[in-house]
């Protein structure tokens, strides 16, 4: 596949850019943060995103979605990154939809996918238990009970867990604490008996949750995929999320860079524009190259997901590289703005905060470097 956008994809990019710049720019993030909004995003916006086809971007057409695939989802996520839009796009449209498409039964798909696409159902992935991403470390247990299972354990960093209608819980039906075998995915209602959800507001003003499962009874029909065979599904879901997060970081790195280059052309010190200082020019030019590399790696990862084969290497490349470059881009942005870059009133700090949260989500540069090395045989 050529590493360029098709005409259709270029149209999606343009419409996503226009939509988010108008409906959910950075000022909207600031407004929601200052209002200490309980939901943390605008439900109206999510409805509008569903109407645009974004909520159902991965959902097949016969299930009410638009079925445009991961490159398209990545373009939406990139626009979200540029505007620092708050929405459940990642948790529901990417992670949730991928899980159900990958592992759902016919009934589960029919029941859930059309509601995702319509913007009526919010999902959250409850996988992590450690503060650093280690998806195989699962201590939450699922014991056979009745016609199903009883779940007990604690989950952290459940993105949008505070508002999700359903949680996709990863629990251990077999094996030791860090085995990849013996994991099973479950669909659990957030208001089921025994589920406690504590909202945690994060540095980037998004919300995650700590979820406690205290003997939660789950019906056999709510197992997602094979009992004990959850790992490949989880990897697929995480890889989808990672590639889309790479796209989000591409968007936010590019936008904070654009604003910084603009600033270098406006701000004067020593009687000249600061952009005329070579010490800044070379760093900006270097950063330009790095962002171009992220663009290539991200596009390739999203294409690999669309091709359906093993995308792991390209996904780790994209997520790892995008994380490192987002860190560099946002640090340079603040630095090159000088004192004003440190102020809350100025937007540039928001980019740094989102970058850090996106980096920590599903593996940072170190995690994905290690994964890449292993995939390459060393």
């Amino acid at each position: 596949m050529a590493l360029v956008l098709t005409d259709e994809q270029a149209m999606i990019r343009d419409s996503a850019d226009g939509f988010f710049a108008e409906k959910a720019p950075v000022s909207e993030l600031r407004r929601l943060r200052d209002a200490r909004d309980e939901v943390g995003f605008s439900r109206e916006l999510w409805k509008a995103m569903a109407e645009m086809g974004f909520a159902g971007i991965l959902v097949p057409e016969d299930q009410g979605g638009v079925g445009l695939g991961y490159v398209a989802a990545g373009l939406v996520q990139e626009a979200i990154g540029r505007n620092l839009t708050l929405s459940p796009m990642l948790s529901t449209a990417v992670l949730g939809a991928t899980a159900i498409i990958a592992a759902g039964t016919g009934e589960q798909k029919a029941a859930l996918l059309p509601r995702i696409a319509a913007g009526d159902l919010l999902l959250a992935l409850a996988a992590e238990e450690k503060s650093r991403h280690t998806p195989n470390q699962v201590e939450t247990r699922a014991e056979p009970s009745g016609n199903g299972f009883r779940l007990t354990g604690r989950k952290s960093f459940v993105l949008d867990g505070h508002v999700a209608d359903k949680l996709i819980v990863v629990a251990r039906t077999d094996g030791e604490a860090d085995d990849t075998k013996g994991l099973t995915l479950f669909l659990v209602d957030r208001d089921a008996a025994g589920v406690t959800v504590d909202r945690t507001v994060m540095v980037d003003s998004r919300n995650a949750a700590r979820v406690t499962l205290d003997g939660v009874q789950v019906d056999g029909a709510d197992v997602l995929g094979e009992v004990g065979g959850g790992w490949p599904v989880l990897e697929r879901v995480l890889d989808a999320g990672r590639a889309c997060l790479a796209a989000e970081m591409l968007g936010l790195s590019g936008e904070s860079f654009r604003q910084t280059v603009d600033y270098l052309k406006q701000r004067e010190q020593f009687g000249v524009k600061i952009g005329s200082f070579q010490a800044l020019q070379h760093r900006a030019a270097h950063l330009f190259c790095e962002i171009e590399l992220v663009r290539s790696a991200t596009l390739r990862a999203l294409q690999a997901l669309d091709e359906g084969g093993n995308a792991a290497l390209f996904v780790s490349l994209a997520k790892g590289k995008a994380s490192e470059v987002a860190k560099l881009a946002t640090n340079e942005a603040v630095q090159m703005h000088g004192g004003i870059g440190m102020t809350d009133e100025f937007d540039i700090g928001f980019f740094m905060k989102r970058a850090r949260a996106a980096m920590e989500t599903f593996g940072d540069g170190a995690f994905h470097s290690d994964r890449m090395a292993r995939l390459m045989g060393y």
């Binding site: 590493l3 270098l264 800044l280 290539s296 045989g377």
Partner: protein
Amino acid sequence: MAESLDAFRSEVRAYLEANCPPEMRQPFQSEDDAPWGGRNFKWSAPQKAWLDAMAAKGWTVPTWPTEYGGGGLSKDEAKVLAEEMRRIKARPPLQSFGIWMLGPALLKYGSHEQKLEYLPPIARGEIRWCQGYSEPGAGSDLASLKTRADDHGDHWVINGSKVWTSYADQADWIFCLVRTDFSATKHNGISFVLFDMASPGVSTKPIKLISGYSPFCETFFDNVKVPKSQLVGELNRGWDIAKYLLTHEREMIGAMDTGGSGPGLGQLAGKLIGADADGRMNDPILRGDIVRADMDGLAFMLTMERVKDEAKAGQGVGALSSMLKYYGTELNKRRQELFMSVRGSDGLMWEGEESRNGAQPRNWLRSRANSIEGGTSEVQLNIIAKRVLELPGA
């Protein structure tokens, strides 16, 4: 379209299978294997057979028009040819400054007669070219060059000297920047001329590099007569041609080795240094450095691919040759440092069979020049800052 490409692929595959000698299906072992061509080049039998087979099809320069010795291939077809060559690990049949630099410049700026005269011998590997740009006083500030060409009616007389002229002592012809107007501003008095290195008054003096090789020279011109028909493009407008040629040179240097030595460093390290029960290389900090370089290397290769694909689709940004040059050469230098670390004291061996005459340290040292030749890294960053980011001048 896709169908005819498939047909083309089978045709290419069959032709390569039938015509690529087995000796030509392995990577270059050393500088000596490089098929530069030219009047004095000593071809081995397989090298010559491979060259002739490819030149017969025009595939030494696949995208050049057939009337000038090329294959007349579309970019898509050329990509197929490259893929098929890679599939059987075929070496390039010919490599030269004529192919990488002068050819593209002549195709754009040369007259029809000049193209007919100079391009086919490049495609057939008969004439080897060198590049007369840099001078003792004109490096990064190339446009300040002083080698002069004086008008003597039907010919020019050239006086001055060049430096760092790669392979000047082995080249047959030179493409050379000369000053033809001393009153104009520095960019507006330069012309682009071609002449035979066997002309009376041309002499060269090899310079030894830190790698121990001496691939470049000082080059002197003492009243060298050059017919006026050997001026390319317009008089005093040579700077445009010089810059255009540089974009090709930069893409070539940027692409050098990053592909060939691609992922492989980590595997080599794993083998030489050993691994734990999980297969993780033993030296964890070195492993981290290697994988970061592999990461950047793979992302860079994808970027080269994307830039090509975007150019085909008529999209993309300018000044990318500077990005590719800067990033590719810095990356290659980093990889060479890592190769040295991975090999440890074995990598220090400078002489003898075992080390293939010190191939590793010599490659490492040679690669230091990548971020200097063709315009330094700092100059590339200046170009990106100016042309792409449009930052103000200091």
